[in-house]
């Protein structure tokens, strides 16, 4: 695809003779780039001098598609961006359109939304943990994580029939009422996770190889996080206690009691610990939401034709990867005039160069894993 700004071969050969610089291409077909990410590394021996990301291999023009679909028709497309956390994507989109329409979502629908979104957060973190450990060389966790993720996907399947691209929510509330054993399955899943998280800690947290490969690697401090717009577990690992669920609560998150896990240095190990603790906190939220699941309607007052008044709104949620925002402009017709998705993976990946400079080439693999990107969302 896109050629980068490399010098022509004869110039390259000349500079290579003068110095130890080497340009190494990584990806797009590389097992640890989590999809089709191409990173061009400029190396001096084993030290990274600079990187350049080539992205866009999965670009499907989601924002263009939105302009040619009605508000309801576009809803399933958002699941295809971050396909690992499709429920979060759907929640953000539905909330943005509800904001334009000025619709109240009933409490029962909000509680079910919270439960499913938190289960999805755990599923997303499990996939991250498995593949991240695999990249660094620990083979076992990926099998364990996928085993537990399967339980989460079963809940989605029982709820709406789909496992990955769920389209679980509708504008104004929910399409489906929960099924008979929904509450029990959610609580069982929390029990399972709390037990299995101990197992993961036993496997990795004290493991000498794991600690050596992650401590002090890919440090991004709080000031840099803000400068690069990096959000989610990355900024919390750098010591900023900031989570949109607490800072600007939505969907009734203000009713649940949970903590924001943080760490200090902002290296790969800290981000690992933050995400592990986030799974525990998600279990806490799920338990509270299931215990206090209110009765009542599951859909607000939304007509069959969704036609928001002319105007615009920016709504963002705390997706598993960071701040996921939707900026929607309506011109009063059936189709959105413009839908802008503010993807956390794209913005977080922008800090890759900063994190990689000066580290070893083997650590680049760990750093890509720790950012937790999904290329479907980076490229849209």
């Amino acid at each position: 695809m896109a050629e980068t700004t490399l010098a022509p071969p004869e110039v390259q050969a000349e500079t290579l003779l003068d110095s130890n610089e080497l340009v190494l291409n990584m990806g797009p077909q590389h097992p640890s780039t989590h999809g089709v990410l191409r990173v061009i590394l400029k190396l001096d021996g084993e030290t990274v001098l600079g990187t350049d990301c080539v992205i866009g291999y999965l670009h499907r023009g989601v924002e263009k598609i939105a302009e040619n679909r009605t508000f309801q028709q576009f809803a399933p497309y958002v699941d295809r961006m971050d396909y690992v956390a499709a429920v979060s994507n759907g929640l953000g989109y539905c909330m943005a359109v509800e904001r334009l329409l000025d619709v109240e979502v009933p409490p029962r629908a909000q509680a079910v939304r919270v439960i499913l979104t938190e289960i999805n957060r755990i599923a997303s973190h499990l996939l991250w943990l498995g593949t991240h450990a695999l990249d660094i060389g620990a083979i076992t966790p990926v099998f364990l994580c996928f085993r537990e993720r399967e339980e989460a996907l079963k809940i989605f399947e029982n709820y709406c029939g789909a496992r990955l691209t769920t389209h679980a929510f509708r504008i104004g509330g929910l399409q489906y009422e929960t099924y008979d054993t929904f509450e029990k399955e959610c609580l069982d899943f929390c029990d399972l996770m709390e037990q299995k998280l101990k197992e993961y800690h036993d496997l990795l947290t004290g493991n000498r190889i794991w600690v050596r490969r992650t401590k002090g690697v890919g440090i991004l401090n709080a000031a840099d996080c803000k400068d690069y717009g990096v959000t989610g577990p990355l900024i919390r690992a750098a010591g900023v206690e900031w989570d949109l669920r607490k800072a600007q609560p939505y969907c009734g998150y203000e009713n649940y009691d949970f903590d924001i896990p943080t760490a200090e240095t902002g290296d790969t190990f800290d981000r690992y610990m933050v995400r592990m603790e986030e799974m525990v906190q998600s279990c806490r939220i799920i338990r509270q939401a299931v215990d206090a699941l209110p009765e009542g309607p599951i859909k607000g007052k939304v007509g069959k034709v969704i036609k928001p008044p002319p105007g615009e709104a920016y709504v963002s949620i705390e997706a598993p990867k960071g701040e996921l925002g939707y900026y929607i402009v309506s011109d009063g017709s059936l189709n959105p005039y413009r839908v802008r998705v503010r993807p956390p993976s794209f913005v977080n990946l922008g800090a890759l160069d900063k994190m990689c400079r000066g580290s070893l080439v083997a650590d680049v693999v760990a750093i890509i894993g720790t950012i937790d990107i999904v290329l479907g969302e980076v490229d849209r």
Binding site: E312, Y314, E323, G325, G350
Partner: protein, 207 residues
């Protein structure tokens, strides 16, 4: 239902006779008047921050409102950089959430650039918009926020808006040799895609 004979020979149901007309039925039927779409609630945004900004920038801030409850500023594109710089340095908006654009082909200033800012200390979000004519350069905020680098590259890639003093302005999602800017309203996606596929992949596009 189309007026063609159905394949099965079942007699079509005879419509039930209407009930006898009530008194006053000779009056014309009152049809509901189609409702005009409601406007988004928009009220002036008041407080120390908007007052300070209006003092400093005066008429170049054309709108300072709460649109649907969200803080919105509209500025002249010539002053946009100054407003952003003031918001960052004096009012603590230290996180550039997003840079994007909207294309309005019928307006004289075709493009609208939208910056979304957030302040960690005040837990506050502000949106700034500025109009831009075709061919006019937009101010780059890469020296204020590093996150602007990729976000502005995406705006350039999708809309063809060039940013003044951007260190590395090239396409980011589309291939370098791509022609046209996909998120402009006049951009026909099928035609462009077929041409590119034929030329670069040497096959006929499936579209």
């Amino acid at each position: 239902m189309p007026d063609t004979p159905s394949s099965d020979d079942k007699p079509r149901p005879v419509p039930r006779p209407r009930p006898p007309a009530a008194a006053g039925a000779d009056r014309p039927v009152r049809r509901p008047v189609p409702k005009k779409p409601a406007e988004m609630p928009c009220e002036p945004w008041e407080g120390p921050l908007p007052a300070a900004l209006q003092d400093r920038f005066g008429d170049s801030l054309t709108r300072v409102v709460l649109l649907g409850g969200q803080k919105l500023l509209v500025a002249d594109s010539a002053e946009a950089f100054e407003v952003l710089s003031c918001l960052k340095q004096e009012h603590g908006f230290d996180y550039l959430v997003d840079v994007t654009a909207v294309h309005w082909p019928d307006k004289s200033e075709q493009f609208e650039i939208v910056w979304t800012l957030y302040s960690f200390s005040a837990n506050e979000r502000v949106r700034l918009k500025a109009g831009l004519a075709e061919g006019q350069l937009a101010p780059s905020v890469t020296n204020l926020y590093s996150s602007a680098n990729w976000l502005e590259r995406e705006v350039y890639d999708m809309f063809g808006i060039e940013f003044k003093d951007h260190p590395d302005l090239r396409r980011i999602l589309m291939p370098d040799e791509w022609e046209g800017f996909p998120l402009r309203k006049e951009y026909g996606i099928v035609q462009q895609d077929s041409d590119w596929v034929r030329e670069n992949l040497k096959i006929e596009s499936a579209q």
